[in-house]
Every structure is written in C-alpha cells, then in structure tokens.
Symmetry: C2
Amino acid sequence: MTRAHNFSAGPAALPQEVLEQARDELLDWQGRGVSVMEISHRSPEYMAIATEAEQDLRDLMGIPANYKVLFMQGGATSQFAMVPLNLMGAASKADYLNTGHWSIKAIKEGRRFGGVNVATSSEDQNFSTIPDRDSWQLDPDAAYVHYTPNETIGGLAFADIPDVGGVPLVADMSSNILSTPMDVSRFGLIYAGAQKNIGPAGISVVIVRDDLLGQAADACPTLMNYQNIADNDSMLNTPPTYSWYLAGLVFKWLKRQGGVEGIAQVNDRKAAKLYGAIDGSDFYSNPVDPRYRSKMNVPFKLQDDNLNAEFLSQAAEQKLLYLKGHRAVGGMRASIYNAVSEESVDALIAFMADFEKRYG
Amino acid sequence: MTRAHNFSAGPAALPQEVLEQARDELLDWQGRGVSVMEISHRSPEYMAIATEAEQDLRDLMGIPANYKVLFMQGGATSQFAMVPLNLMGAASKADYLNTGHWSIKAIKEGRRFGGVNVATSSEDQNFSTIPDRDSWQLDPDAAYVHYTPNETIGGLAFADIPDVGGVPLVADMSSNILSTPMDVSRFGLIYAGAQKNIGPAGISVVIVRDDLLGQAADACPTLMNYQNIADNDSMLNTPPTYSWYLAGLVFKWLKRQGGVEGIAQVNDRKAAKLYGAIDGSDFYSNPVDPRYRSKMNVPFKLQDDNLNAEFLSQAAEQKLLYLKGHRAVGGMRASIYNAVSEESVDALIAFMADFEKRYG
C-alpha cells in the first residue's frame, strides 16, 4: 500500500495513524467483540469516548468553562440556519462580513430568518483581499457579527480576530479550526464542519458562550436548538457515534503533534514554502493579497489554462491527488490541512518545479 | 478475535462481512492510496459509490420511479420536524397514530408546526396493542397520516400497512426498514435513521413520492427542505460520505442474502424461536398482544426483577451483549435486526433456558 499525497479540499486527508488505529479496532474495539459503530451512544463505554473527545478538544483550544461544546450533524450549512434561529433573538438582525463563497451562503440563509446587514464586502475586488477594518459599517445593535475566518474556495483568510466591540462574534471555522491558536474567549460562537481538520464528514462542532443560549426562535426545530443539545450533552438523539469517535482519535493525534501550537508551526512552514514556490515563479500565480493568504487552502493558476489537464494528469501519476481548483475559481488548489504532511507539500513543490521546467 | 452476540437496540450490529471489507480498504480504497472518507463527495469515484447505493436500495425495496430517495443527516428526530415543515402545506394539520415512545416524540414535535390530531392511541393499554382500525378517528382533510410501524422500545409492530384512504401515509421505519417486504407505493413518505438496519448512526434515508415535494413552509431551513435535497441528489452540502458508503456495503450484503425477501424468512424464524422460548416458559414473559409483536425488538421480563443484574452479567460472560431493556420498560430487550444472525438468537435462547434451570 502506498498512501497518496492528498490535497482534497474536503472531505480531506486524515492522519495515517488515526486511520490505522480505526482499522485495527474496526471489528473488535478493546476486546469487546464489537465495533465502536455497533454500540449504543448511551452505553458507559461509548459515553467515555464522547466525554474524552470533548475534553481533548477543550484542552487543545483552551475553551473556557463558560462555553458549551456541542457535537452536531448537518455541517456548516446547517449552522447557517441555526445561528440566526438561535442567536438573532429580539433584535432580529445581525451583521455579516462578506469575504467569499461561504460568506455569501451564510448571508443568504441568514436573510431567511431576520435582517442581515452586510457590514463589509470585498466582492468588487473578486474576494482577493479583506477591506480595512475602519471601513466596516457595523451596527452596534446587531445580535451578532458573522464572518468566515478562512474562505476554503478563494484561499482568503483573516490575519487576526476582528475587533467588533461588545457584539458577539460568530465564526465559521470549518476550514481552519485547530490549525493555529485562537483565543476562544474573543468569540460568542464558533462552528465547524469536521471534514477538514477534525474528522470525517457528518459531524460538526459548535462552541458557544453559555449566556447566548436560551433565546431560540419559536420556529426552531427541537434538534436545531443549541440549548436542547447542550442540556443533553449532544445526545438528545442518537449522535453520529463513529464520526465522533474518529474526531476523538484526531484530537489525540493532534496532542501528540504538540497540540495546536505544535501543528501551527508545521502549517506555517508548509504555507510559506508553497507560496514561496508560487511567488518565485512566473509560471504559477496566486491572486490573493499576501496579507490575507490562507494557510490551509492555496489556490494557484498556471500561466496557461490549456496546461491544466496535463498538470493534473501528471500530478496524479506522482500520487499528488485532488489538486483541481473549485469551478468558481478555476486553476489549481492545494488544501494543506493539519493532516497533510510537510513531505506531501515538498513533493508537490518538487513536481511543480519539474513541470515548469518542462512546460514553462 | 471473537465477535460478540450483539443485541443492541441501536446503534446496532452490522454484518461482519461489511465490517471486514471496510477494514480492508480503510486506508487504501481501490488502490488509490486514500480512504473513502478522505475524498470529495463531488469526485467521480465518490459519486459512483453514492449512485450505486441509491440504486441498490431502490432494487431492494422496489421503489417506484416517482419516488425520490434522499440521504440526509439528523436521524429520525430531525424528520419529526421535517415532515410537518415539508408536508403540512396549506391544510396545516395532520393525523398521527400513537403506539408508543417514538410516536409520542413525533407527535410532540409535529405540534410545534401545525395541528396534530391523534387519531388513535393505545397509551391507556400501556402500548401493548394496536387499536382496531375501525375505531380510528381519521380526518379526511389531514395533510398526511403519520405512524411508527415498529416501536423500538415497546416491541410493538403493525402487522400490515394501514389503509388510510387517499391521505398520504408517512412512516417512521427506523427500526424495521429492509426487514420485510413493504409495498412502497402505499406510502407518501418513508424515513429511517440508519443505525438499525442500514448502517452506522449519522445518516438517514427518506423515500418520498415526488408530488408531495415543493410545499415546504417559509420557516423551513434550506437543508431541511426535501425539494432542495432532491434537486441536488442529496449533495446540497457535504453529505456524511463514509456512512453513505457503509450503507452501500450493507445494501450489497443484503442482496447477497436474497434481498429483503430472503432476510425476511430468517427474521421470521429468529422471532418465532425467541417468542416461542419466552411463551413456553413461566420464567420469562412478553407483554405485547401476539398479533402485534415486533420481529426486530423483543422485550421480555424475568419472573423476578431482582435477577436482572445476574442475568445481564452471566449473559455478558457468554458474549451475549446489550440485553438490558430500555429504562421506560425495564427488564430485557433483544434487538434482532437483519445483521443479528440466527446463531446469535440460538445462543441467547440456550442461555435463557440454562439460566431458568438454575434460577427458575
């Protein structure tokens, strides 16, 4: 078996050690003669898995005690509805920052449940930058400010946590959670689909400051009400048990890498190398303002789009997979999440240099 | 490795062959050097998995062409909200049959979105039977009639598909889907959480007649609108890809067992043997009207509740696991879904006879 260099944007690469452990205990977990996916979520042995996963996530992110951690289903797209249904409250209005594809999706769904003020947007710059903070039109009476710290498709990322005064800050961290230290206490709510830095698709994490609970709209389905989920330790109904277990294995793996601080150093190196290779060439280019380049998703273009198919085909022969850019952007995209090794990034850079030599 | 006899009510036992295949290709699917859980849901190779799983389910259940098959998240509890949000329409009222724990949950959530008429209930008989059809108070103007063909906790099951005239029939088949042939054309909508007869927790199946789509309430979140899911082949957002793949493996396995017709014969034998053992003893008892006993979930009591702990402990020593009854009912419960072998049921019966000999 040769494992590939997997640059998929999501569902994305998982740590090989995690997959090996999952494989080894797939039919027989801890000598019990059953798989983790075959046991009740309410059994003491499963409850231990669930509790430990939450504690490990709390340790990794330094989550304060006044924040609830929820394990939910439906991915970030479900959260686009849950956030306004739970947090808009009597104000019935919120601010959104528009920095790309996923911001727009959140805004569109938010408008179905209340007033949405787009406080800033870089759409007229093709989402290649983030407007200066002093140009934002924030509403001091907004229920919250929603933003997307890392845009998976555009490869645009905030360099810092924005200051929005006393209004709760809500972040869709699907594609950058656990990749770099973040001060959780700066946020009202953080959510993330698992399928980039946490585990397989089908589970998501919500971290919410407890004073924001308990104001859900009447129209909010029971299973979308954060308060209900919190009151039932994310087991109001059967949770996605196997995905939760795998997320727990990823958290343990991340601790072994030196935690978020440790992996952030690797991530910094990986991104610096790859952007360096792109910027050092006239053959490859990245359109994003260098101040706001994503360390997780690196879109790049070849000098000539007619070479795209050849690039992808030759890359695949070298086991460099899933480099095709999103159709909205074109070109290439290398997603280099936590589980993508520095070795994989090195292999990509070597291939890019070789390809340029032959076609540049 | 010795596999246990697993009688868990859900998440429940999966076929050993399915787990073995999943294990063997966990790190390297079809020689690609990646796991199925590490690839994009929009990649051609994943799309093939998804399409084939749907087709296999259509084959197994004989689903007519005018029914959509949706793969969703959130389990049956999510459907308790989605059904009224999508189907109540202008009528804004529906009939519900109350036959136990899960019926009550569906009714309670349904009431949050419109008028709910409980057309019949066996609550005053402790859900030990199903009221005669001619006593039901059905409303001919109801948007639909909702029922629970198999109550997982009470072990109560409908013997036939009820005749409700021209009103669409909606069934929560979470714990009996694929266990016995069902004429899908008799239903407006069928839903089921996967974690009993389909696969791991975290994915659910919805089968809906296409003329019932397109009337969702304004308050319906985008991801809960069946029409949106159908229009996007269940890929409006990232689906739970690995669970969907595992469900596909279970469908293939079921085809190898002779399909639903084949497994139904095994299920009939398993249930007949176990109820026979219970009824043939003064030591064990089952409270359900024999006409309406579940073939999937068999609750039973010991003569003396003080023996329960000893029974469970000795059973576990024989690798007979997860036999404790639901706290609402007490006693024992053996869930004998498709993946629980006849050999496991035989082992349970032998243990029960031996235990009775020693303690009866």
